[in-house]
C-alpha cells in the first residue's frame, strides 16, 4: 500500500540546517499497523508529512496504492490526500466553529470527495460512539472524543492509508487506549496504518515497530 525509499529531507538553513531524513525507507501493507518510534525532534512528524504529500522530500521515491507522490503536482497531491490518505493529528485540528459531526463532514465537502462521504460521516460518528456529542463544539468535548472525531474525519473519504501523528500524545491513558483500539480496527478493516508515537502502549497494538534514528528507519 505504502512504499517509500531513499527519503531525504533537511530543515533549517545555513548553520541551523539539519538533515532529518537521510535515506529513510518504509513499506506498509494493507491491513498492517506500523508504529514509528523515536525521540523528540528526530523527524517523525516530518516523515509522516512527506509520506502524505503535505511536505516535499528533497530526494526519494514514495508510492501510495500504486500512485507516485514524489514529483506529483499540487493538484495531484490534493487528489491523493482526498482519495487515498487520511490524517490524524496529535492536536486533533478540529475547527472550533464547527460541531464535532460537522468537522467529520468537512472532509466530505471538498470537491471530488467520496460520493457517500455524507452517509459515511453519519455511520462513523455512530460507530465510534459519538452520536450523543455529535452536535457539540470542540471546546465542549473531551480530548478522547475530539480525537475520535478526528479519526472519523480521517476515514470519511474511505482512504486506503491512515497516517497518525502522535494520536495519543495529548490524551490520558484510557482515551489513548481507546484511540489505539480504533486504529487497530481500522487496520483490521484492510487499511494500512502508519503511526508515529512516543507511546510504548502503541507497540502492543502494532504489527511492526520501526525506530527513526539519524534519518534512517530501522
Amino acid at each position: 500500500m505504502l512504499r517509500a525509499s531513499g527519503l531525504v529531507k533537511t530543515v533549517g538553513e545555513g548553520r541551523a540546517a539539519r538533515r532529518l531524513l537521510d535515506g529513510a525507507a518504509v513499506d506498509v501493507a494493507a491491513g498492517e499497523l506500523v508504529a514509528v518510534l523515536g525521540r523528540s525532534g528526530t523527524g517523525k512528524s516530518t516523515l509522516l508529512h512527506v509520506l502524505g504529500g503535505l511536505d516535499r522530500a528533497e530526494a526519494g521515491r514514495i508510492e501510495i496504492d500504486g500512485e507516485r507522490v514524489d514529483g506529483a503536482s499540487e493538484r495531484a497531491l490534493a487528489g491523493l490526500r482526498r482519495r487515498r490518505v487520511g490524517f490524524v493529528f496529535q492536536f486533533f485540528h478540529l475547527l472550533p466553529e464547527l460541531s464535532g459531526e460537522a468537522n467529520v463532514r468537512l472532509a466530505g465537502r471538498v470537491r471530488g470527495a467520496h460520493p457517500r462521504a455524507g452517509v459515511r460521516a453519519g455511520e462513523l460518528v455512530e460507530r465510534l460512539g459519538l452520536s450523543d456529542v455529535a452536535g457539540l463544539g470542540p471546546a465542549q468535548l473531551s480530548g478522547g472524543e475530539q480525537q475520535r472525531f478526528a479519526i472519523a474525519r480521517a476515514l470519511v473519504n474511505d482512504p486506503r492509508l491512515i497516517l497518525a501523528d502522535e494520536p495519543t500524545g495529548n490524551l490520558d491513558d484510557a482515551s489513548g487506549a481507546e484511540v489505539l483500539r480504533l486504529l487497530r480496527e481500522t487496520a483490521d478493516d484492510g487499511r494500512a496504518v502508519l503511526l508515529v508515537t512516543h507511546d510504548d502502549a502503541a507497540t502492543a497494538v502494532s504489527d511492526r515497530v520501526l525506530r527513526l534514528q539519524d534519518g534512517l528507519l530501522a
Binding site: 482526498r82 459531526e101 471538498v110
Partner: protein, 734 residues
C-alpha cells in the same frame, strides 16, 4: 518585502491615490476661477450698452466713485471666422480701445506691435486650430495674422460658449464703444460704483451690467452643477479613503499581536510599544503615501486640466503642491493614528493572549454544523465582528461612492438631454407672438401652447446679483413647474415664486419682498409667495404673473412654448411649425451641449471611479488576507483532507461574500439616504437633483461587488496555496 508589508503598502498607496486624485480635482476646480481672474486681470464690472462716443462716455465713467481703472471696447457679433481647422459664423470681434486688457496671454504675444493683428481666445485657437504664426479669416477684414492666444474667464471657452472671441485693435481711430470694463479700488463697495453708474447712465440704451460675481454665476450655469458635485464627491471619497487607511492600519496591528506580546514580555512599556508601532507605520506611510498622492494627482491631471481649460480657467500648477503636501501629511497621520490606537489598546491587555495572537476583542466561536465550505468561510469572516463591521463599512462607503458616481453620470446626461429635470414641461419653443398661439394649438400632437417671457434683471439692493424674471401667459405650472420647497404657487398680480438659490443669496423667505431692477433701470417690487428648487441659473430665477410683467412695462423677450401630447410625433410637429415659418427650438437641459466637455467630465468621473473600485478590491483582499492568516491552520487542515485550491477559494469566497453582500446593502442605503441628499445639499441646495440609484445601477453595483469578492478570494487562495501545508498545521497548535 513580505506579502503582509506589500499589502499594507498597497493599501496606503491606494488611499493616497484616491486622496491625491480628489484633492487635485477639487482644488483645481474650487480655485480655478479666482486664479484665472487674477491672471487675466478680470474687470470687477463689465457694462454693455448701445454704442456711445468714447469722449462722452468717459466723462461719465471717470466720475464714478471707488473707480480704479477703466477701459473700453467695441464688440461686434456674428463675424464669420475661418481657420486651418474649422470655421464658425458666431465670431465676436472685440475691438480694444485702449487701457487694461482684461485677458491673459498664454501663448505668443499681445497686440500692439503692428496693425491688423489678432489675438484669439484659447477655445477658438483649439477649435479652429490656429495659433501664433497662422492666419485667421475674419469676416470682411480677410486674413489676419494671429500673434497670440488669450484666456479670459469672463465666460467659458468656445465652443462651450456660443461666441468665438477674438481681439483686435482698431485700424483707424475709433470713436464709439459699447463695452466698458471697470476696475474698482474696493471690491466690497462695488455696489456703490454700480448704483452711481446707473445714475449717470441715463440715456444709455440696452444697458447691462455684469459683475465678477455674476460671471462666476454665469460660468456655474454653463458648467451645470457638475463642478460643485465633483467637489462634493471629493469630500466623500476622502472620507472613504480615510476609513480604508484606518482599517488597513488596524489590520496590520492585529497581525502583529504576537510580536507585540513578545515585546511586552521582554519588558517594553505600553508607551514604548505604541511608539514603535507608530514609527513603523510612519516609515511605511511616508513613502507609500507620497507615491499614492503623487500618482493620484498625476492620473487626473490631464482630465482636470482639460476641464479647467474648457471653463477658461487655469490649472493650479505648483500651487497644488501645498494641498497635496497637506494631503500626504493627513494620510501619514491617519495611518500612524490608526496603528497607534489599536496598539495602545492591545499593549494594555494581558501578555499571554497577545502571544497567542488573539483578537483585540476576542470572542469564543459558537460551534455549528452545515453551510458548506462557503458557509464556513462566511462564519470565519463574521466571527471577528469588529473587523467584519469595519470591512463592511469601508467597502459599503466606497461602493456607495461608486453608486453615487453612477447616479451623477446619469444626472449629467439627463441635465443635458431631459428638460423635465429642470421642471420644464414644454418640449418646443418658437419665436412668435401671442397672435399665433391659436395656430400652434391647432397642430396635431400639440397639447397646449402659450407665451413665455424672460427678463434679465438684478436685485435692486445688490446690483451684482442677477435675477431672471420669467412669466407665462396663464398658469405657468402647466409649462414649467420646479418643485415647490416652501409657500405656494403664484396666483395674483405682484407675486413671485423664486428659486432657492436666489432666496439663499438674498436672505429672502416666503412673505418677503423682492425688488428688482430691469435693464432699463425700472424697479419691480414683488411679494415672495413661494420658493422653488430651481436648477437653472443656480436658482437665480423668479416666476411672476404675466400681468405683473405687462403692468411694469418691462418688456422682455417673448417666445411661444409648446407642450406636446405624450403620443405626439415630435418630428411631424416640427415639420408643421417649419411650414408655418416658425423654426422650432428643442427644449434642452441645464448643462452644456458640448460633447467634449461632457467627455472630459466623464473622464474625471471614470478615473476616480476606477480608483474607488480598486479601493474596494484592496479592502476585500486585505480583509480576506487577514481571515486567511487567522485561519491558516484551518485551511491547512482542509488542504490536508484533500482540499484543492478551488476548495480554499470556496471558503474564502464565502468569507468575501459575507462582507460584500452586506456592504452592497450598506452602499445602497448610504447612497439613497446619506450621500445623495448630502451631495445635493452641498452641490445645489437650491435644486432637487434626482441622484437616487436606478435598479440597473444597483444591479451593476451588486454584480461588481460579487465579481470583486470572487476575484479577491481567488487571489488570496492562490497565494495561500503556494505555502506548504505543514506551516499552517504548526500554527494550529493551541
Amino acid at each position: 518585502m513580505s506579502g503582509r508589508r506589500r499589502l499594507a503598502v498597497a493599501g496606503i498607496v491606494a488611499a493616497g491615490l484616491v486622496a491625491g486624485a480628489v484633492v487635485a480635482v477639487a482644488y483645481g476646480l474650487s480655485t480655478g476661477f479666482e486664479r484665472a481672474a487674477r491672471g487675466a486681470d478680470l474687470p470687477d464690472v463689465t457694462a454693455r450698452f448701445a454704442p456711445q462716443r468714447i469722449d462722452d462716455l468717459d466723462e461719465r465713467v471717470r466720475a464714478l466713485p471707488n473707480l480704479q481703472a477703466r477701459s473700453y471696447r467695441y464688440e461686434i457679433d456674428d463675424i464669420p471666422l475661418r481657420g486651418p481647422g474649422g470655421a464658425t459664423d458666431e465670431g465676436r470681434l472685440e475691438l480694444l480701445l485702449g487701457g487694461r486688457r482684461g485677458y491673459d496671454i498664454v501663448e505668443g504675444r499681445d497686440l500692439g506691435e503692428r496693425e491688423g493683428e489678432v489675438v484669439v481666445e484659447r477655445g477658438v485657437a483649439r477649435a479652429l486650430k490656429v495659433g501664433p504664426g497662422d492666419t485667421l479669416e475674419v469676416g470682411r477684414a480677410g486674413p489676419l495674422p494671429v500673434v497670440g492666444v488669450a484666456v479670459s474667464p469672463d465666460n467659458v471657452a468656445f465652443p462651450l460658449a456660443k461666441t468665438a472671441k477674438i481681439y483686435v485693435e482698431p485700424f483707424d481711430e475709433a470713436v464709439d464703444a459699447n463695452v466698458a470694463l471697470l476696475w474698482v479700488n474696493d471690491r466690497e463697495r462695488t455696489d456703490i460704483t454700480l448704483a452711481s453708474a446707473r445714475t449717470v447712465a441715463f440715456g444709455l440704451g440696452d444697458l447691462r451690467f455684469l459683475t465678477r460675481e455674476g460671471v462666476a454665476v454665469t460660468i456655474d450655469q454653463a458648467a451645470g452643477v457638475v463642478i460643485a458635485l465633483l467637489v462634493a464627491f471629493a469630500l466623500v471619497a476622502l472620507i472613504a479613503a480615510g476609513t480604508m487607511l484606518a482599517a488597513g492600519a488596524h489590520a496590520d496591528v492585529q497581525r502583529s499581536l504576537p510580536a507585540l506580546g513578545v515585546r511586552r514580555a521582554l519588558g517594553f512599556t505600553p508607551g514604548g510599544v505604541v511608539a514603535q508601532h507608530a514609527w513603523a507605520a510612519l516609515r511605511i506611510a511616508a513613502p507609500a503615501g507620497a507615491a499614492g498622492v503623487a500618482v493620484g494627482a498625476l492620473a487626473v491631471s490631464g482630465p482636470a486640466r482639460s476641464l479647467l481649460e474648457t471653463l477658461n480657467q487655469s490649472s493650479p500648477g505648483w500651487a497644488l503642491a501645498v494641498p497635496l503636501l497637506a494631503t500626504w501629511l493627513v494620510v501619514c497621520l491617519v495611518v500612524v493614528a490608526a496603528a497607534a490606537l489599536p496598539a495602545w489598546r492591545a499593549a494594555r491587555k494581558p501578555i499571554a493572549p497577545l502571544l497567542r495572537g488573539g483578537e483585540l476583542a476576542a470572542r469564543p466561536p459558537r460551534a455549528r454544523g452545515g453551510g458548506g465550505l462557503a458557509g464556513m468561510g462566511a462564519r470565519f469572516a463574521v466571527s471577528a465582528r469588529g473587523r467584519w463591521a469595519g470591512s463592511v463599512a469601508t467597502i459599503g462607503a466606497c461602493a456607495g461612492v461608486v453608486l453615487l458616481m453612477l447616479g451623477l453620470a446619469t444626472l449629467v446626461v439627463r441635465l443635458r438631454d431631459d428638460p423635465t429635470v429642470l421642471g420644464k414641461r414644454y418640449q418646443l419653443t418658437v419665436n412668435s407672438d401671442a397672435s399665433l398661439l391659436g395656430n400652434l394649438r391647432a397642430i396635431p400632437g400639440v397639447a397646449d401652447a402659450t407665451q413665455r417671457y424672460e427678463i434679465e434683471a438684478a436685485d435692486a439692493f445688490r446690483l451684482g446679483e442677477p435675477v431672471r424674471l420669467i412669466a407665462y401667459g396663464g398658469d405657468h405650472t402647466r409649462f414649467e413647474a420646479p418643485a415647490l420647497a416652501a409657500g405656494r404657487r403664484i396666483r395674483a398680480d405682484g407675486e413671485a415664486e423664486i428659486g432657492q438659490g436666489l432666496a439663499d443669496a438674498l436672505g429672502l423667505a416666503v412673505g418677503a419682498t423682492l425688488a428688482t431692477l430691469d435693464p432699463s433701470g425700472r424697479e419691480l417690487r414683488l411679494k415672495v409667495v413661494g420658493i422653488v428648487r430651481a436648477l437653472d441659473r443656480s436658482g437665480r430665477v423668479a416666476w411672476i404673473p404675466e400681468e405683473t410683467l405687462r403692468s411694469a412695462d418691462a418688456g422682455g423677450v417673448g417666445q411661444s412654448v409648446i407642450r406636446l401630447e405624450s403620443s405626439a410625433d415630435r418630428a411631424s410637429v416640427e415639420d408643421e411649425l417649419r411650414a408655418l415659418g416658425l423654426p422650432p427650438i428643442r427644449t434642452e437641459g441645464a448643462t452644456t451641449r458640448n460633447a467634449a466637455f461632457l467627455a472630459t467630465l466623464a473622464g474625471v468621473l471614470r478615473a476616480v471611479a476606477l480608483l474607488v473600485g480598486l479601493v474596494c478590491l484592496y479592502a476585500l483582499v486585505q480583509g480576506l488576507a487577514m481571515t486567511a492568516r487567522e485561519r491558516r491552520g484551518t485551511l491547512a487542515v482542509l488542504r490536508a483532507c484533500g482540499g484543492a485550491r478551488a476548495d480554499v477559494a470556496a471558503v474564502l469566497t464565502g468569507a468575501a461574500l459575507a462582507v460584500a453582500v452586506p456592504a452592497a446593502i450598506v452602499a445602497v442605503g448610504l447612497e439613497r439616504f446619506v450621500l445623495a441628499p448630502a451631495v445635493t445639499a452641498l452641490a445645489a441646495g437650491y435644486a432637487a437633483l434626482p441622484l437616487e440609484p436606478t435598479g440597473l445601477q444597483v444591479a451593476a453595483l451588486v454584480a461588481g461587488l460579487l465579481v470583486l469578492a470572487v476575484l479577491a478570494a481567488v487571489l488570496v487562495a492562490r497565494s495561500l496555496s503556494r505555502e506548504p501545508i505543514v506551516h499552517g498545521l504548526r500554527e494550529e497548535l493551541p
